[in-house]
Symmetry: C2
Subunit: 309 residues, 2 copies
Amino acid sequence: MNEATTRLYGAVEAGGTKFVCAIGDQEGRILAEARFPTTDPVTTLHNMVDFFRARRGEFGELAAIGVGSFGPIELDRGSDQYGSVLRTPKPGWTGADILGPLLCEIGVPLGFDTDVNAAALAEHRWGAARELDDLVYVTIGTGIGGGALVGGRPVRGLMHPEMGHIFPRRHALDGGFAGVCPFHGDCLEGLAAGPAIIARSGAPLDRLDPDHPQWAIEADYLGQLCANLVLMLSPQRIVLGGGVMNQSQLYAPIRERLVAWLGGYIDRAPFAGGVDAYVVAPGLGGRAGVMGALALAIDAAAPRASPRT
Amino acid sequence: MNEATTRLYGAVEAGGTKFVCAIGDQEGRILAEARFPTTDPVTTLHNMVDFFRARRGEFGELAAIGVGSFGPIELDRGSDQYGSVLRTPKPGWTGADILGPLLCEIGVPLGFDTDVNAAALAEHRWGAARELDDLVYVTIGTGIGGGALVGGRPVRGLMHPEMGHIFPRRHALDGGFAGVCPFHGDCLEGLAAGPAIIARSGAPLDRLDPDHPQWAIEADYLGQLCANLVLMLSPQRIVLGGGVMNQSQLYAPIRERLVAWLGGYIDRAPFAGGVDAYVVAPGLGGRAGVMGALALAIDAAAPRASPRT
């Protein structure tokens, strides 16, 4: 018991714009942390390995390292590409092997999942959905991605969810905008992620007037996403995070649009007045990613200790 | 062991147009069966109870009865309404207590889920997705409903999925049709279920020319549903059943539209040539519903024997 409480874990939030590396314990306390920009894979993964190597003297051998990565990624342990980034528009990263350097240089058990599945796990364990086994975490930033827990377990299936690429119905005020997703043009990410907001409106949200139509358009697309989630995944709560959601005035109109899109069909308390507690900000704020990676490490070290995840 | 193999179970497929009641064993063999139309709740539920009462002499006490019901239904055992139909456009059925009469009159353990979650379970156990723990079953008939297994367990969460009511993008040839869903007008069910096909085209599919635009419209909406499922739930297989899918020439264009909607983003074998094995007909045909109810009964009698469901 004493040994278990003093075990330490590594965590890597492998994001599309920055990597966060950390060392923490099983209560979710972070004891060391570094962050650096996501540049080319060689430099970035070298920095990641260096972080853990440099702290060996201070913290000793880690019990495991968890990596929550931007996607798409290969989660199938039976695949040659396990641990790698799949086809991505991010220059240079298609095929990048994220786990390989950790395995060779650090050599401890590894946990691996999407950054958003990891964030969902962290919000479930320590954040805004502690009592709930069925939840969705969506980040709206430079891209849009969603992770989900069903029965307390991350959803993977064929690959992993890629919720940013559904096609919402176009908003009446948004007919002329082509969208910016390199794969799909006007999918959700192409219409509602940060780069889409700037391409459509000429500026990020925090520099737009409160009555700029961009606000209504954004809330409608994200409300529609939430409605689709209710209808397809039936989560007990939806957590919306990411840079765009730092504009916290968006939560209220997103909730309104969610209720409007459902049209009275889902006869559940959140849609009859309790929606403020249904669509929420991350309890861990911007820490959900790295805390999720820590949760993946804890589960990788002792999978039987956490049967539901 | 001998006792276990001779146990018998009751099954009720509580559909919106017909009820199927059956008695079967744990290998999925059906030993007795009756079907009758779904009229008013009093008559229909009386017929259901009568079926089991009349066969007590022949089959003895059942180990459990499973009910797979049209929805929306209350699945929360902590609710006063557990076992009842929730707000539904089906006349007379809002609030109807389906499990109550079985509990009072037959008094064996009861399993309860949506008809489509039950069908997904049956396809997983005995049908078209036997080796797969993550799958979706969708029925396209007088309505559209979907059930899902994640990690082998039916998805419930806040209520249960109601996939028929997502809003697909409108097809270019379908701009003038208002849709027929009483809640939403032109949601998926309002655009692509049997009554929508008849309202738009004047006849069911089997009476339309092969070059009627209805076929392309239908395939596009169902392909879009499949794409949304891939992006949100990431199933390993999608099973499409129901009366509309008896027109089996629909599967090929639905698969084509699925691949088109994904736009090359999901780098997985089914979307690079293997899609025929990804979107499939039910292995159990029209039997998925009643077999699913049987599976619910088996699990209700011995929940610990099937930990994953």
